[in-house]
Symmetry: C2
Subunit: 138 residues, 2 copies
DNA sequence: CTTCCTGCAAAGCATTTGCATCCAT
DNA sequence: ATGGATGCAAATGCTTTGCAGGAAG
């Protein structure tokens, strides 16, 4: 099961304010990647006093720095966030319906090891984005 | 040898204006990825009447749509362009010096075929970005 | 000629920041 | 109490667009 909001905040070394708890709570509840703006909209939609947009941005930035959430750029000029699972995965983006499908099995480790050895790189992370047309859109 | 500026413009179905010729010429001459702004700066640095920034943006956008240049997002919020070679390759970005190294050997085709079969995707393209610390920065 | 381009400046977005106030710890 | 957080609005930075004059085919 997934971690609670306060746990994630603690892991990032951030104070547990009601705003941040709301933000992380919403993010945990969200199965897809979301932009800061989308997250902000959802918080407002829940009614009550939602955190300001600036706070959403600040919080997401901190969480990403702490490695608690992943920041991805599916489209240029817009960052998408999602809670880091323990699972390593990549994404397939349908160029027609823009649906993002998670790809679980990553098979590039052997390649990376080889590159590290050959170029002397210390490869700390990698991102793979596939694009194409999904089954439903064909 | 690489193609001339006018050839690339023709391939994209764009009129060969002096501005566009200058832009593509500069892009062909450039071994690294450049942003629209960098390209604009270089053109101005050459003296004479350089194309306006808006024209640089418009031209790069058209060329990217036509598949003549690649648009990449190494950092979020900024597009980098480069002329498409015939070669398929990916990038390694050093998180310390931000140097971008081209990785020539792509070994994910088998994986992609498998995914296509399993999910029913029509995978038309993919992007791999590696990050880490380069040999010089260690 | 007609359609497409260009330059310039203004507009648009996503994101960041300044600053006074406020709240966890 | 006190350093970190928040909200709001203004500021930024990259990119796009509207429009009137110009040039390519």
């Amino acid at each position: 099961m997934s971690e609670g909001a306060s746990t994630l905040l603690a892991a990032a070394g951030l104070r547990a304010t009601p705003q941040r708890t709301a933000i992380v709570g919403e993010l945990v509840r969200e199965p897809n990647d979301v932009t800061a703006q989308e997250l902000h909209d959802r918080l407002r939609a829940r009614g009550g006093s939602a955190p300001g947009l600036a706070t959403v941005y600040r919080t997401l930035t901190r969480l990403a720095e702490a490695g608690v959430v992943d920041a991805l750029t599916h489209h240029a000029g817009e960052l998408c966030y999602r809670v880091c699972g323990d699972d390593h995965h990549h994404h397939f983006v349908c160029s027609r319906c823009h649906r993002v499908v998670e790809i679980g099995d990553c098979r590039i480790d052997a390649w990376l090891d080889d590159l590290a050895g050959r170029h002397g790189f210390d490869v700390t992370g990698h991102r793979v984005e596939l694009e194409g047309v999904c089954a439903g859109c064909r």
